[in-house]
Amino acid sequence: MTQSFFQALADGLTLGSLYALIAVGYTVVYGIVQLINFAHGEIFMVGAFGAVATFVVLGGGTLAWWVLPIMLAGGIVAAVLVALATERLAYRPLRNAPRLAPLITAIGISVFLQEAVRLFYGRIPGFPDAKSNVQFPNIQGVTGSPFVIGGVTIQRAAVFTVVALVICTIFLYGFVNRTRLGRAMQATSQDPDTARLMGIDIDKIIMIAFALGAALAAVAGMAQGLLNHNINFRMGFIAGLKAFSAAVLGGIGNIYGAVLGGLVLGVAESMAVTYVPGVFGGSAWKDVWAFIILILVLVFRPQGLLGARVVDRA
């Protein structure tokens, strides 16, 4: 009984860390421009594919541990570039448009990115075909035989994921509170007009928000690849949805809320699979539970767990 509880907890925290890393991207962008960037899930996917691309181009076929940071850097670069491009080309021109316009654009970008990866990734010489699952390299150290502690099995990649979240959160905390840019970002999210009057370059802040979210999503993409051993062009869709739910759960606009929301959602999902009795408890329904949590949050606590921002926009 306790063993299965801790197993579920460990699995939940791993999953939750993944959600949290992606959720930050939704939340920082929303906090500043009140835009739900649906395409963020695809940025996560691009990060994972970018990591594989880096592995193919620079890795030289080795699976040694030192490839890991290189892949990570490659994934981050790819994700950040794509995110900045979408911001510059698609979202920025729509900043004063009715709210429907950027939402529809986001859907378009999301579909476009999925298809672009599916169709063109494999055409680059040496790259694996992306129309079905793509094998993710089993980097030494973060894959291989799992740790077993008191009967609870913990994948090495899970450790990587959780540690990545911890490091990223510390980094985020430092960035937001200790740097000029971070403080400017906070100021902008609280009152864009005043921030502009104080000489803050809003365009730059928005780009940083997109880049920051993309970088964390790329880390998540890497983690996902290590956990599942393969990636595919559709992986961003459900993960993005769940991460968005996590962001709402934590209180959209609040960075720490996103982290907390991700963890809570991951654990709740994992617990539901373990403890909901009968046929609905099976893993077939796990995604459904996550979405039901989203809906329940909206009904009972629309401002989220840490609810910094009152959701009151038409």
Partner: protein, 575 residues
């Protein structure tokens, strides 16, 4: 979209005569070139190898050339005087020249593609291209002048009605001809011609005249439109292929119209709309006489339709009630999530992961054809010596449904409820403060959209024969949304155009099949960037999306005034 001018307006005033000469000459050269051979082999498009008379596709080029020449000639005096004419001759000439150039690029490109290289284009083709380019350059030097006044001319009733009838006949012929194009090159050429011709008519002022006439004879227009749609199966002479496409277009259009109530009228972004269609389809399939049905109750179809609608509508209420209170953004994401839940649910309700209702991912095959009022839909009937097959039967049923949905759409839009929706889109807080029941109206739009999708789904189940979860995935929702956005949010005609284009293109352009989703993802982005109001824009939507464009507001105001002056119906509303 604007094509950049080559020279400043002042220079245009001066260069107008030269532009006229160039355009006329270019147009006539193009006209003449169609009597020359264009292609080396007759295998490309239609036979363009003949010296002496033009082929059908060449004839279209001739039409654009002649149009450019004649319109430019008729508009030769525009640079003098007040710059206002009854018919927008030079505007027409400009557009005809652009259309001619685009058309030639497409034609020569297709010849090159189909025969393997541009060497297969013969001298006549190059002459034609030169003619078109000369006309294009010349037309760029022309003065546009102020908008034509044609729309203010009120023709006698018989002429108006005759014009409507003629326009409908052209539409019917175009539908017949377009669907008849087997190869992609021919179809693309046809689409370019059709768009070009419509654009030229717009610029001449003929379209506005026609729309003013239609406004005056609204009933005639509606009757004529349905008569035309009704006549379509009779042009197919029993061919199932095109009728199958036509029924698919209709199902798609009905669903998109329902979505347009939600998105276009109430301004709510519903990304899980396909799930409501799916819920209706599954309900109908489960209640049908299929041997794979999982329940024992099989009521008549009339009852099934209502149950399907009710099931979807109830789902809409369940989803809408919690989310519509919060904010529009959340609705989008919750509906997206709902779409996924629906798919998981349908896959999981297979007897192992949950109660057996849908047979899991196999779905429910073998849904029998409908049998309404003694008419068995699987039978082929012969009317006036023309065979009407299974698809034609569904076509007629869907036509009735689409008529009902259009009626609901238009009448709700032009009512107290429609005004409430507009007010909510404009300023939700102010609407609430003026006593508009914001939540109620949103929920109504959302649930009634869901209801209509459920009804459409019940027919789709029988039409498709089998209902499976993978027919109702997110991409289909996005596809529907693309139809609404492309066509025009909040308009009926726009959605019909959007749905037709989006459904027809992949059918006719097999070679883009692979790139279908890529293209329409891009389409959504590009439309939102450059023409968010869609191809057929609702005036109000246009204003909403271009909030800082005061020029546009003035223009639309003058339209309203003009309509008032000529005694044509309503105001600001449906465009």
């Amino acid at each position: 979209m604007r094509i950049p001018q080559l020279v400043s307006p002042e220079q245009q005033q001066r260069l107008h005569p030269i532009g006229t000469v160039l355009t006329v000459v270019g147009g006539l050269v193009l006209l003449a070139s169609t009597f020359l051979p264009w292609a080396y082999s007759s295998a490309a498009l239609d036979d363009m190898t003949i010296l002496g008379y033009p082929s059908t596709l060449q004839l279209y080029a001739a039409g654009f050339g002649l149009g450019a020449a004649v319109f430019a000639f008729l508009g030769r005096r525009l640079a003098r005087g007040d710059g206002r004419q009854v018919v927008g001759w030079t505007r027409g000439a400009k557009t005809a020249s652009v259309a001619a150039a685009v058309y030639l690029v497409v034609i020569l490109g297709s010849i090159g593609l189909e025969l393997g290289g541009l060497v297969n284009v013969v001298y006549g083709g190059w002459v034609a291209l030169v003619g078109a380019l000369v006309a294009l350059v010349g037309s760029r030097l022309l003065v546009s002048g102020r908008p034509p006044r044609l729309a203010r001319r009120v023709p006698p009733a018989w002429l108006g009605i005759l014009s409507i009838a003629a326009a409908m006949a052209v539409v019917l012929y175009a539908a017949y001809y377009g669907l008849d194009q087997e190869d992609a090159g021919g179809f693309v050429s046809f689409v370019v011609v059709a768009i070009g011709a419509v654009a030229v008519l717009f610029r001449l002022g003929v379209m506005r005249w026609l729309s003013a006439v239609s406004g005056r004879h609204r009933k005639v227009l509606i009757f004529a439109a349905f008569l035309t749609a009704f006549a379509f199966p009779f042009t197919q002479n029993g061919s199932d292929e095109n009728m199958s496409i036509a029924t698919q277009v209709l199902i798609f259009a009905v669903t998109a119209l329902g979505l347009n109530i939600v998105v276009g009228l109430a301004g709510l972004l519903d990304l899980g709309y396909i799930a409501f269609l799916g819920a209706g389809a599954f309900t109908a399939a489960i209640l049908s006489n299929s041997v794979f049905s999982t329940v024992d109750w099989h009521p008549p179809f009339i009852v099934v339709v209502l149950i399907s609608g009710a099931v979807s509508g109830t789902l809409g209420l369940i989803i809408g009630t919690p989310t519509l209170r919060v904010s529009g953004d959340y609705l989008a994401i919750v509906t997206l999530a709902f779409g996924e839940i629906f798919r998981f649910g349908m896959i999981n309700l297979d007897g192992t992961d949950g109660p057996d209702l849908t047979n899991g991912s196999n779905g429910i095959p073998g849904v029998p054809d409908l049998n309404l009022f003694g008419l068995d839909f699987k039978d082929t009937h012969t009317v006036l010596g023309i065979q009407l097959g299974r698809f034609a039967n569904y076509y007629f049923l869907l036509l009735v449904l689409i008529a009902v949905v259009i009626l609901i759409f238009v009448r709700l839009n032009n009512s107290r409820i429609g005004r409430g929706w507009v007010a909510i889109r404009e300023d939700e807080k102010a609407a609430e403060a003026m006593g508009v029941n914001v939540f109620g109206l949103k929920l109504f739009a959302f649930a009634s959209g869901a209801f209509l999708a459920g009804v459409a789904g019940s027919i789709k189940a029988h039409h498709d024969v089998s209902v499976t979860p993978d027919q109702y995935i997110f991409l289909e929702s996005a596809f529907l949304l693309a139809a609404v956005v492309l066509g025009g949010m909040g308009t009926v005609l726009g959605v019909l155009v959007g749905a037709t284009l989006l459904k027809l293109m992949p059918e006719k352009l097999r070679f883009v099949e692979e790139y279908r989703l890529l293209i329409f993802g891009l389409l959504l982005v590009v439309m939102m960037r450059f023409r968010p109001e869609g191809l057929v824009a609702s005036k109000r939507r246009q204003l909403e999306f271009h909030d800082d464009d005061d020029e546009l507001a003035e223009k639309i105001q003058s339209d309203i005034d003009e309509r008032e002056a000529t005694g044509v119906v309503p105001v600001g509303g449906q465009a």
